[in-house]
Symmetry: D2
Subunit: 319 residues, 4 copies
């Protein structure tokens, strides 16, 4: 193995740059050349590759976003896309490709694996919805970002005796909402994994008011419904006036937390080292405190369950 | 003068607690008793007053929100409301009232002044839209909060080559939007004080793309239109796809900045000292770096102009 | 079991208040009364206990420090101290005691356990130096605090082409230094677990300068030596001028991170639930992503090893 | 005027990059070329100049430190240094030089002015100790950084009932200490401008303990003495045990606050516009909310007084 490539794909997440740096420096440390493709698979198809050196990844470890940029690629999804990508990789004399992104990005890499090109995946998404790892790069940072925002909203909520709904990201999963809900001491957390009835929520709100709660915070995973929709339902069913905040893309930005910068560094190094050792078609995971390298298909063939103990905590601790 | 009262009214803003602390401790330092009324004029009408002591305002200087809470009061707005409030103040043996809030809160205090009750106003709002002072308490903090959010969005915007619209608060004024626009190096700032045509904005975006700008940030004051509305217009007129973020109530929360904590401390002390010196019906302002005490009516009789030099800076510096 | 007590002991750490809240609310949720003793074992001996209610722990989850305060107690360390403490607990009708602190605090609790009083320990320290758990409450927050400081120093280091030494806490362990070193991309990390020679460090610095590095960052665990001492040695042995920063107590303060607030909430709930289930003399740990309850003596009978893979990362990634 | 140069000199401060960006883009906007000299006057003497373009200053507005780096130059201080610098500037066809730095940097620029080279100064230092402007670039950010640190220390101080000394920067001036002291609600502020006796401080501490204060915070300007020295004196004179923290260089780093990013942008634009209008040998100041351009010598010929009202506030508000 003489030359590897790296790209970031899908939504960006804090720590992607730390992963790019770790892939690059580990490869150079072990005697390989590194090419970075810009704008994900789209840039790969366009042949938009640049050499990455020790100094081109200097000073980026704590920078938000991704210096390689990212994009979604319709062309790559087409049947012939994967062959074109394969051809490009050969053109650049690339021996293996490291893809940093979510499960959609992994599925793309898997297609390259299936036609014989060596690939490795590093899970980078704030949603933490990828099986095969306990943590994805960016999740911890997004939790802290959302927590800070919720804390600021609580200042206002408690000053005005108000009911607030905060919509957080997470796609079809509730990991981010549940973590932020417990961390902020929110009164209610709504996640896609646990069905709920609007009548029950109204009943709980009524009961809380009776006990003297003058303000409440609902953390809502975007996978359940929009904050606006929930506010309508609360008004129609229980007559409640709720203020809504949609945290949106700020959850994807910012410098990575210490946890994410370390995780990204370890995963980036492991991806390169495992490729050199001959592994193929794997993803890097962090399971029970250790770096592991299960088959990349683990990401979509298994499903990470939500922590039931933590759902119970919300009720117990917000009395 | 033996006893004064203090209340917070209208929207909360960071630094209100620092102002409450300064009013309380200055009063005690000068030999007065202090009563805090909870929930603004509503609590005053309800007789919801509590004694404030040295220790009851300990540790609050950097806490967000207001420990006295705040509310809007329909009852106080009615003609008889002011007389009921006057009666309550006499009941509590209050000699003067300090009101911390925006211009609506000042208008309420002014009605008490007009029937002979001594009042002082401290400008607390993130909008900075009160004449008679260069800075209101909370504005600087809100600028920093919004700036941090915009910076996080820029990570994503530049990673994805996207156009972002960020809607910031400010009511019918553009101070917050302009400050954040210049501080973040945003490409476009839209404020209510400066009319704009959607065609011109599209033309600017087209020209920027030609020059190679792959991503842009528009800071939009809520007083112009909603971010959703602007996104529609950009799509209809120029075919642009924009991502939108509405910062919302997080702009009101959080610990005050150093600037706001100092401003609130100085204003709170000045309010009490000026009342003791015999001033009546005044607001505390910070003009040209000095504490001043113009008539409270200055707040709504004059109008703070937007800084034209700064509007030009946006164009010049985002080339 | 009808009534439990809780206290914080030793150095404070971010998340202690979240743990106090979780202990209190879980106990109340399960029908128990709760007493909080102030100033650790010292306050227990003084009988300085206060009832903790649902509302007395409201709004504290993200507050730094500990509302119960903490202290070191010479009196409790004396042989008769433990009997006096036992008597106090009986006086208050306490059925079990939850101690939040480091291993010294656990040893104190163990003495109560040995004379038959039910105790549980929750590991709260920024040093992460307690066996039986992968994470102690406060470690993650301290990492983020130190990381932010190092990032600010790097701005200056790179602007001035300077060599910086940053001394971080950790007592006789290097966990904090190693985590921050990897997260910040520091060039060198010195920890007590790995012996080093000043000559080797000077040699590395010389080699780095040759390759064109104009500035470097050394993260130094306080358990190795002081920053001042290291600066002297660098000057004497290699002629290097280093700027030093001692982060000090800021590492103990601040609002807990999302990770720590969740960890503290889960541990606090687990301590109470395990006591109710009949467990005695245990500590709460977080091992491989799960809450566990090993014997309290695990804390000092075993030793957490430093992650060797991460030490290698420092060299590999700072090329 | 066809080509200008810019350099940063002396200690770095947050916002310097925003000023570099504003100088560069304003110059380009008005049809000029821009050269940036690296490492201050040292780099000017070395001819270490690089062209600055629209894109080379893109994305730097909120980055800490200075992309041009900075240094102190012994060579420039020598009598012949100024002539060598003049020669270099002519070699590069530079028509005017903008210097961003403190009063030492201005004195250097003034020597160029005296031999006929057009110069402008932009005040960049966290110390705010330059006459001719109410605010220097970086002061507001440093206040916020120090305030955050003090707030974290207060968590620990109040948890442990301790006395803390926090040493902040400011060279021979007390602006930073006083601002942070008022903003944090510190009990005592020691600044070089106001003489103090250690006996009086001990007396105040004794009196505060009597009134029930269990912990106190002393903000100490570095210009008075070191924190270690003050701790010794407190121990010797009054028997007090104080914990000390020296904030150090973290005060110089970090992203600029909104206030500083705006100030730097306005000052950078004003420097270029005033040069084009024909002004020479001036500094840019911000006085009473307006941009002004007094003679550069104002910086050292006048002296900014400390705000006496704020010194009194410390006593009054920390009762």
């Amino acid at each position: 193995m003489k030359r590897i490539a790296v790209l970031t794909s899908g939504g960006d997440s804090p720590g992607m740059n730390a992963a790019i740096r770790a892939v690059t420096r580990t490869a150079i440390y072990r005697g390989l050349d590194v090419i970075g493709f810009r704008r994900g698979y789209e840039g790969l198809l366009d042949g938009d590759g640049i050499p990455l050196t020790k100094s081109s990844v200097g000073g980026i470890i704590l920078r938000g976003g991704t210096i390689l940029r990212t994009a979604r690629s319709e062309r790559f999804r087409r049947p012939e896309g994967v062959n074109e990508a394969y051809a490009r990789l050969k053109e650049y004399d690339i021996d293996a490709l490291v893809v940093i992104g979510g499960d959609g990005s992994f599925r793309g890499a898997w297609r390259l694996h299936e036609i014989g090109f060596p690939v490795a995946g590093i899970p980078g998404t704030i949603d933490n919805d990828i099986a095969g790892t306990d943590y994805t790069i960016g999740f911890d940072t997004a939790c802290n970002t959302a927590l800070e925002a919720v804390q600021k909203l609580r200042d206002t909520a408690s000053s005005h005796d108000r009911l607030f709904i905060v919509e957080v990201m997470g796609r079809s999963a509730g990991f981010l909402a549940l973590e932020v809900g417990v961390a902020s001491g929110a009164e209610y957390v709504l996640v896609p994994e646990v069905p709920f009835k609007i009548e029950d929520l109204c009943e709980k709100l009524r009961y809380a008011r009776q006990r003297g709660k003058t303000h409440s915070m609902i953390i809502l995973a975007e996978g359940v419904m929009s904050a606006g929709e929930l506010a309508s339902q609360l008004k129609d069913t229980g007559g409640y006036e709720a203020r809504i905040t949609v945290l949106g893309h700020i959850q994807r930005g910012g410098a990575p937390s210490s946890f994410d910068a370390v995780l990204a560094s370890r995963m980036g190094a492991a991806a390169v080292n495992s490729l050199i050792e001959g592994q193929r078609g794997f993803m890097v995971g962090y399971v029970n405190g250790k770096i592991v390298t299960p088959p990349m298909s683990t990401a979509w063939e298994e499903k990470r369950p939500l922590n039931a103990e933590m759902m119970e905590l919300v009720d117990c601790l917000s009395i």
